[in-house]
Symmetry: C2
Subunit: 270 residues, 2 copies
Amino acid sequence: MTCAERAQLAMMLEVCAYPKPGNVDRCHDYDTTRLEHFLGSMIFSRNALDEAERLGASGSVGKIFHSAVEETHCHAGGNTHFGAFILLVPLVMGGDIPGALKVVAGTTVEDAVLFYRAFGLTRVAVLADDEMDINDPSAEESLRENRMTLYDVMAYSAPRDMVCREWLNGFALTRKGADLLHDYGPGSESISKAFLALLASEPDTFVAKKHGIEVSRRTMERAREVIDGVRDIREFDELCIREDINPGSTADIIIASIYTALGEGWEWDS
Amino acid sequence: MTCAERAQLAMMLEVCAYPKPGNVDRCHDYDTTRLEHFLGSMIFSRNALDEAERLGASGSVGKIFHSAVEETHCHAGGNTHFGAFILLVPLVMGGDIPGALKVVAGTTVEDAVLFYRAFGLTRVAVLADDEMDINDPSAEESLRENRMTLYDVMAYSAPRDMVCREWLNGFALTRKGADLLHDYGPGSESISKAFLALLASEPDTFVAKKHGIEVSRRTMERAREVIDGVRDIREFDELCIREDINPGSTADIIIASIYTALGEGWEWDS
């Protein structure tokens, strides 16, 4: 299996895993974003992922990221894998977490500019008062003036975005999710368990951007109650869907965890 | 969208479509073959499909078919797309149905030999009394002695296999399925409707091989009752699953129909 295929397999396995409270899975769609949109995006990401693998550490993260977003943004389901690509592109370029860390450390101002252009292609939740709002045409100029690399952009976003934070903390949650998959054993049931465990230990920042930190913390506590056996997982799932709480950042990280675990011999198909 | 991507999209859309009586879908697995196995096989078919598109009519159907089966037979879910590749490989090589007909007409004895070798890699339902049983080591010799091309092999199997029959009848059911998709309109609901309509008009030969022609005819009649409004589709679905009736050949043809309809502008993502 190539690294690009492994990344696609990770995206496929994550979206199919069930139950996965609040998110699209094989039994739940959102009105505008459905299972097929996620799987379509996964199919269309292949060329960018192949390029990431082919170029390795000598490639441009920004350029490959821009290609991935551009190629997958061809369906009516809106943004599906923007956050996942923030992790998968360096992971595929570097092969594994240590390789990805070298890749992110070497990013340039040009990578940052291309990342912002990719941002402009899609509709990703941003904070209303964000100084680096992509809708601001001076953002690109500001990046160049301040000589901000893509790594610096991730550092800027890290306090409010757990996916960007992975670049700074050594892919800590990606690693944690992969370890959970190894602990839980082979098969897709382990993916929903790892998702729930991560959700119960970190407030999801996508939920925080959409609904505020209080809702994000409450979601974390509810996930903990499911693990403690005092709340039913299907009731929690329906509650999240009813309240439009979709922990998308946790899902992005679990994709990177599956990619990592697969590379370490974790079996998906038993 | 390339033809290879279109073929992958067709495989993805078919397996996700629900309800689809008796078959794996986003809400149903079989014990040994699950949704993820079909989607994994779809991911791993990419290299063979890219090769089919790159070589076009100058490629070898047998060689590409063998690669597709070899590359996708790497998971624990058994045979998933053998029948689909019989249709998709010439369709991707030729681009569309008229192109595929030229490709199948030009197949050679070497294509037939490679097809039989691919057969040997997987476990596909065969008739116990089939003279051309793949488990017979003299099959390859017999193909060469009788100068049988892959087209001749399909002609030999056509009376008992509706997928092979497509090579001889101008991809008639593929065409019918694509027309149904256009009639029913965009979106995945149309896929389950087209599946049901095809199932109600032709006895599925995969069901016939497994359970006999009577069961296959009865399944066709039950599908007709669903269309006529005298049987509930979910009850029919559960009945099929309980009796291990999975109309796999109809599913293979629907994949080819989706591929064809997508190439003619049918919208999957609305």
